[in-house]
């Protein structure tokens, strides 16, 4: 199928909206749009960061997921206490594959779950005493812990516990930073507010900790990698490129990151933001308070990597700029070979994406390097500034869907018939059963890393492995095949 025209895409959206009652239709219509790269502002065509419609299936998370799961969780040498009932922490434990180096349970705590395990009596009488006891216990059992964060679950806000007071008192007693985070799940419309709350907690409780301390020897080439969560080792694959350029990566936020790295970040010369959605807040704050410039970069696919490396180098002197060219040249043979190998197998394939807050636009370049085309993209919890940035990356008349519902996404896929879908675990099995090749783009389908030149090799291999997998030809049971042996895609019949 060739690319759809503007009218066809518009008609498709109308058709999909047809099943909704009038009120729901009116609401959902604002979240579905046909891309027009010539528009400067997304708010003219798409609405985002609004409350999900009751009754439809959304895949959004909560503020606690945004704070504990995304921003704070990967900080490896701190204990992140899931304060409240046991489930929130336990069912999300170690699910995000934020790789780290260290001895779990000794000096790192990334994959462990700490919870205050709220019972009825804690709801009735308050949980502050329990929290204080828990903090003491953690400190006694794990003396190498560098600090703690208290990640509130819903009941904490509802019963009005004063976690700030407990944290302050215990922090003084133990002489370790204890950070209360008011990320109760009911706040906001999605995990996005959790990111913001987590950023604000870092701003208030961590960033200024070493303001008067000049013992850290700085260099003119200090940078911080912000918003890389080291999924499957992403941050490591990014970091080596920056180090080869002659930059010194002082901090990784927050994949494989430590508390002291975060405290030292105000001393760097440049903040590099990968995930804009979850960490732009703290970057803007550091720009204002410490005068540290920040820039967004993109390490998916050789075209974007080269572009980003040059843009980063432009902040520094000629040596770094020359080094950037050297790095690009060094890896050229490697990535050209990958493109030569996989491009013929993937050329012209069409992809639909639906991911969180950054990848729907960042991976477009990587797919284009492989000759693939992204025909539809959407975010779970993006804001308008993300769509501003996305519309320029996407082709004309492609489909944009914000906080897409289960029904809409299925219908879009049936009509657009992409060759690959990149989304999360909740979508995976539905589309695989419909016979559409699928890759998880949150967790890289337990593969990775996908960042950097090393990651691109894995990315290309994984996409090829998924799309050209022989299993997609065997979707129909042999006894259902027609006499001519013509295999019809189940998706077409559904």
């Amino acid at each position: 199928m060739t690319a759809m025209t503007r009218e066809e895409t518009q008609a498709l959206i109308q058709e999909v909206l047809e099943v909704y009652p009038d009120k729901a239709k009116k609401d959902r219509a604002k979240h579905l749009a046909v891309n027009d790269p010539s528009l400067e502002q997304s708010k003219k065509c798409i609405t985002s960061n609004r409350k999900s419609l009751p009754g439809v299936m959304t895949v959004r998370g909560c503020a606690y997921a945004g704070s504990k799961g995304v921003v704070w969780g990967p900080i490896k040498d701190m204990v992140h206490i899931s304060h409240g009932p046991v489930g929130c922490g336990q069912y999300s434990r170690a699910g995000r594959r934020n790789y780290y180096v260290g001895h779990t349970g000794v000096n790192t705590f990334g994959t462990m779950n700490f919870t205050s395990d709220f019972q009825e009596k804690d709801i009735v009488f308050g949980g502050d005493k329990k929290l204080a006891k828990l903090i003491d216990e953690v400190n006694a059992l794990f003396p190498l812990v560098k600090g703690m964060s208290v990640q509130s679950e819903c009941p904490i806000g509802l019963i009005g516990d004063d976690i700030e007071a407990v944290s302050k008192k215990k922090g003084k007693e133990l002489e370790k930073p204890i950070v209360p985070v008011r990320c109760e799940g009911f706040r906001g419309v999605s995990q996005s507010l959790g990111h913001h709350i987590a950023n604000d907690a870092i701003r208030d409780w961590v960033i200024g900790n070493r303001d008067g301390d000049t013992s850290f020897a700085t260099t003119p080439y200090d940078v911080a990698v912000i918003g890389d969560y080291n999924i499957g080792g992403d941050a490591w694959a990014s970091r080596i490129l920056l180090e080869e350029m002659g930059l010194r990566v002082v901090a990784q936020w927050s994949g494989d990151g430590t508390l002291s790295e975060m405290e030292l970040t105000p001393k760097v010369k440049l903040n590099l933001i990968h995930c804009y959605r979850s960490m732009n807040y703290i970057s803007r704050f550091m720009e204002e308070k410490y005068g540290i410039p920040w820039m967004e970069y993109n390490f998916f696919g050789p075209t974007k990597i080269a572009e980003s490396l040059r843009k980063i180098a432009a902040f520094f002197d000629e040596t770094i700029q020359a080094n950037a060219e050297k790095v690009i040249a060094k890896y050229e043979a490697e990535y050209s070979a990958i493109i030569a190998k996989y491009r013929p197998r993937l050329e012209g394939k069409r992809v639909m994406l639906y991911v969180g807050g950054l990848r729907p636009r960042h991976v477009i370049g990587a797919y284009e390097d492989l000759g693939m085309e992204v025909v539809g993209t959407g975010y779970e919890f993006a804001h308008n500034d993300d769509y501003d940035r996305t519309m320029k990356e996407m082709g004309d008349s492609t489909l944009l869907y914000d906080d897409v519902t289960g029904y809409e996404f299925e219908e879009f896929v049936k009509k657009v018939k992409p060759d690959l879908i990149g989304s999360g675990i909740k979508e995976k099995y539905i589309f695989q059963k419909m016979g559409v090749p699928f890759r998880q783009m949150h967790s890289w389908d337990y593969s990775g890393p996908y960042h950097g030149y090393d990651g691109f090799a894995i990315f290309a291999r994984d996409m090829d492995m998924t799309i050209n997998n022989p299993c997609w030809k065997s979707m129909q049971a042999p006894w259902l095949k027609s006499a001519e042996g013509e295999v019809e895609k189940i998706a077409a019949n559904a």
């Binding site: 400067e40 502002q41 960061n49 913001h196 807040y281 803007r284 720009e287 204002e288 804001h383 308008n384 500034d385 501003d388």
Partner: protein, 72 residues
Amino acid sequence: MPNVMIRRNDGGDLLFYVAKKDMEETIASVEQDTTDTWGGEVLLTDGSRWYIDPISPPPLFPTTLRFKRADD
């Protein structure tokens, strides 16, 4: 009266950012933009108008300032 963070973008233009609204617009014109005062009515590229009492001497960007809506 939102808190607005003003910063320069790569092109040197002033950006008007309201965190709570995720609004990131470019400033088209400022009523008083001289060496000793900055402020007054601020026109954004999306057509909205905002007001701030002129500040003297002009603030150093990036900074956070409180603006009022000038439309209503």
